[in-house]
């Protein structure tokens, strides 16, 4: 934690409104981006950020200077977003099975895997391609999408994700691998058909 952050935390503990505004402006955008990934509705995402700040301010006494303020707030907003979603009720999930690879009895893949070309992958520079990739992520069932977002995008470690989702570390690993495989299948039409 930087000296500047430490000073900010001290001011927040002293109930300094200017320090709160600085914190919201500095970290709020990133927190909203995280909440948007976990909640599809913009208002729900904004509510989660607001809830996260309420929780953070009430828990300041428990904040230890071992982690950065950004890391601490990040974890709080992930938790707030997951709690928000639980409060909205779980939607029925589609099965992933149709998106996973299939194999012959001898262990060989049923279908060959053509390599995605560099020119197809270079289209990630286009906003349109990035939006298509995001829509493919949105098609994953929630239980698997959460793990992919928290591990691969938010870069939380396996144990932290297990704790946040209330599942075992092994379940996190299995879901992550299946989510990546399913997303790869969903991205085939995006990256697998361009020649070059």
């Amino acid at each position: 934690m930087t000296a500047e952050e430490s000073e900010l935390v001290d001011s927040l503990r002293g109930d300094d409104l200017a320090a709160l505004e600085t914190t919201v402006r500095e970290f709020g955008g990133r927190m909203l981006s995280v909440a948007r990934q976990l909640l599809s509705n913009e208002q729900d995402a904004q509510d989660a950020v607001q809830d996260a700040f309420v929780t953070a301010l009430r828990s300041l006494d428990r904040f230890e200077h071992r982690s950065s303020l950004a890391t601490w707030l990040h974890r709080i907003v992930v938790n707030a977003a997951l709690m928000k979603r639980r409060s909205l009720g779980r939607r029925p999930e589609k099965s992933l099975n149709g998106l996973l690879p299939t194999f012959l009895a001898d262990g060989h893949a049923t279908h060959p895997t053509p390599r995605w070309t560099a020119s197809a992958l270079a289209t990630m520079e286009l906003a349109e391609t990035r939006a298509v990739v995001r829509s493919c992520i949105d098609q994953l069932p929630e239980t698997h999408r959460d793990v992919l977002l928290l591990r691969d995008i938010q870069q939380l470690d396996t144990e932290s994700v297990a704790e946040l989702l209330g599942i075992s570390p092994d379940a996190v690993k299995v879901r992550l691998h299946r989510a990546r495989q399913a997303l790869k299948t969903l991205l085939e039409p995006v990256f697998g058909t361009t020649t070059g």
Binding site: L17, L20, V24, L32, F53, D106, A109, W116
Partner: protein, 81 residues
């Protein structure tokens, strides 16, 4: 040393990418990859999937709307009173 099938390799590919495989399994994986272009393609495409997901999400907006800033400040003031 025994060989592994494409299925065994693909089932444990995320563990391979995370460097979580025991040394002996790592050697079996690398031997299989040196002989199987299909599995190399699968591995590369899976890596590209992870990178693409990260890039797609990282490029989303990270600004905070002014009305949300004000709502947070207002809710804190109400919480304090």
């Amino acid at each position: 040393m025994t060989q592994i099938t494409c299925r065994e390799l693909i089932d444990f590919l995320s563990s391979y990418l995370a460097g979580e495989l025991p040394a002996e399994s790592q050697i079996l994986f690398e031997r299989h990859l040196s002989l199987c272009p299909d599995c190399v393609n699968y591995l590369n495409n899976l890596r590209a999937t992870i990178d693409s997901a990260r890039i797609a999400c990282e490029n989303s907006s990270q600004s905070i709307p002014e009305d949300l800033v004000q709502a947070i400040l207002k809710s804190h003031a109400a919480d304090e009173s």
